[in-house]
Amino acid sequence: MGTGTFPLTVSPAPQDPNQLPSGRHGLTRDEVVSHQRARVVEAVADVVSVAGYAATTVEDIIVTARVSRRTFYDLHSNKQDAFLMAYDAISARLLTALGEVLEQEPAFTDRIRDLIATFLQFFHDHPPYADVLLMEVMAAGPEAVERRNWTLDALAALVLRAVDEGQPKRGRPPELVAEGIVGGMYEIVYARVLQGRTARLLDLLPDLTFSALLPYVGQDAAVAEQRRLRRRVKR
């Protein structure tokens, strides 16, 4: 270590804090690749959220990710491939967060509320992820749309699991209701993101929770939870 008199002369060229040091760094090949992949995921989300999928180029992605063209093409065959990987990584992150809600909460009403809260918080905290998962996925070709369907199915499966574990079999609404709830939530959040109102997403919690609970717990319990959440939002 130097004395600190001329720190700039000993440090390497200015570097992005996320970028690995070049040369020998003691990381395994796998660690390097997974780090590069993670950078590409973030870069795809950032670029696509600004430029839109159609106008995004591989050049934009490699500049933002600070990987070489060679590295990019080692990982991906083209832009669409990189987008699909980013989509998969981000949707896996969302589904993991939602899965954890079911692990932590045992009660049905709490589970549904926290699933919705986590869903809203995820997009609120990461607006570019909303652009990838909700908006640009529609423009990225049929494989992307297929993945979006898969995500919606996975979300409906979480709701159905909560219903299965927390609601009596008798008097349950038709199974398709869960798919409708998840789809409705997607459409609502999509419309807000489209209008650039991502910052207000958390305000939706009381009403979305009401709509999701209504078919399962009935009107009185759904209204009670909605009122409780409204008071909490106001505070």
């Binding site: 369907n149 038709p174 398709l176 998840v182 789809g183 409705g184 939530m185 009403d207």
Partner: protein, 234 residues
């Protein structure tokens, strides 16, 4: 009618040369052919890959004729989209009007919508899936169609509601119905749509009419679907 040309000609194509048809008729026929051609070409190629050449080949009109009517692919697509949505709206509204209560209106209107989609799976695919890829004007039209859809699925003003409805309820319900339909159309399972009527009807009615009415309409829709399924065999 003049003698048919021996050349291979699509049955909907007008004979070339002198045919004694008034100019207005020819023009509107050409326009319709182009609109039909857009739908077929886009359902074959996808919106992005469709070229004006593909459209005029299917429509059987000249490039010149195409550009007499439309400035580009997008304009032709939007006109075709509008026409289909208009027809769909007409079919759904007609069925809706035959119901006496709001619940039965929704049952008939939604049933008509699902049946119309199932009858024309390619057109359904173009309007629901491809429209999203066809640029900002198409997206705006989609938003407007959703608004109409919302009006049609929401109870008329002043209807007493046994449930305290939140302001987002109608939007959630309509969005949910739309996504359920979208998922079937995009994965080419449009034929399943009419079978989803009972559960979709339940989802729409529940927040506004309560569990009794929603449950009764659900059972009624299931029973009538079963009756229809049995009828041809008996």
């Amino acid at each position: 009618m003049s003698a048919r040309s021996p050349h291979a000609r699509a049955p909907h194509q007008l004979p070339s040369g002198r045919h004694g048809l008034p100019r207005d008729f020819v023009v509107s026929n050409q326009r319709e052919r182009i609109l039909g051609g857009v739908m077929i070409a886009v359902s074959r190629e996808g919106y992005a890959a469709t070229r004006v050449e593909d459209i005029i080949a299917v429509a059987g009109v000249s490039r010149r004729t195409f550009y007499d009517h439309f400035t580009n692919k997008e304009q032709a697509f939007l006109a075709a989209y509008d026409l289909v949505v208009e027809q769909l709206r007409g079919g759904v509204a007609g069925a809706y009007m035959t119901g006496d209560t709001w619940a039965s209106k929704v049952r008939r209107g939604l049933g008509a919508f699902l049946n119309l989609m199932a009858m024309e799976p390619e057109i359904a695919h173009v309007c629901i899936v491809e429209a999203v890829a066809a640029g900002p004007q198409a997206l705006e039209r989609r938003m407007r169609a959703m608004e109409d859809f919302k009006l049609f699925l929401a109870p008329p003003e002043g209807t007493r509601s046994p449930v305290i409805v939140s302001p987002l309820t109608a939007e959630t319900v309509v969005g949910g119905v739309y996504e359920v339909i979208y998922a079937r159309v995009v994965s080419h399972r449009t034929a399943e749509l009419p079978g989803l009527l009972p559960a979709l009807l339940y989802s729409v009615l529940l927040p506004f009419e309560g569990v009794e009415v929603a449950g009764a309409e659900y059972r009624r829709a299931v029973a009538s679907a079963e009756a229809r399924a049995v009828a041809p065999a008996s």
